[in-house]
Symmetry: C2
DNA sequence: ACGAAAACCGATAAGCAATCGGTTTTATAA
DNA sequence: TTATAAAACCGATTGCTTATCGGTTTTCGT
């Protein structure tokens, strides 16, 4: 999955302001880039076709929302670039991590361990919910 | 940074067999893809220009080697896709992992924690070396 | 210095994002 | 209900990048 520059900016904006129409997106992006309203429209349509946005008509215009959370998208992107180099069987997410970890210092490793703990407790949580 | 399909295959092969010339790369890739020798040449040149390969003349031909380890490349790719969505100040690698961790199960989290330990001991190692 | 081998150049095709003008569709207000 | 303004949609164009190779130039060894 590849995203162009404008598409990324659109997504960023939609995460911060969900349910906006093309006009509003264009207005918001005016500070960063000088594209015509139609160009922004096209990017929204492209993202919609790619399944990254949902939309709902409101009067004349569609209101767009990101269909995926920022973190989920990043995870997907990571998986897509990493899995090209990771063979079947290897777990690509863990393997990807082992690729990255060599650039980390102690503080970062600490943070990471905290994240793991958080993740563990969330798993416990959803497990007990599943058990009713 | 974006790599095409042939470029990825070339890199993969060079990791498994460093110091080979274009002819050998072409021969090796014949099983996976039906490209002319010149096409493979071009891919090698492109990768060389991108700084991903080094080479050294041996007789008529250059022998190519990957300039970067597989893990390092994956780490770079991850950083490049993730940093687009991560603001200054956030540490993008750790943030990227927080994005990925929600897709992980307990076993993966365990593996991950082991990797962190390994990484920690390597840091200690290089630290004591630095202290002479 | 000759000839074969390999590198390099240039042209072409294909795919995709960005661009935006122009046309069609559509929601509302008269 | 129909006119009209707003927005969606379509199509063409540009620019960038990989893949593709044929053909030419360079280069090394004999």
């Amino acid at each position: 999955m590849f995203l162009g520059e404008l598409e990324k900016q659109v997504l960023q904006y939609l995460w911060s302001s969900p349910n906006v129409d093309a006009k509003q997106v264009h207005a918001a992006l005016a500070k960063q880039r000088d594209s015509s309203p139609n160009t922004v429209q096209s990017a929204l349509e492209r993202l919609f076709k790619k399944g990254l946005l949902s939309r709902e008509k409101q009067g004349h215009a569609y209101l767009y929302r990101a269909k995926i959370k920022r973190e989920e998208l990043i995870a997907k992107l990571i998986d897509s670039v990493a899995s090209d180099f990771i063979s079947q069987g290897e777990n690509s997410l863990v393997a990807a991590f082992s690729s990255v970890s060599s650039d980390m210092d102690e503080g970062q490793l600490d943070q990471l361990e905290k994240l793991i703990e958080i993740q563990r407790s969330q798993l416990k949580q959803s497990k007990s919910n599943a058990d009713k």
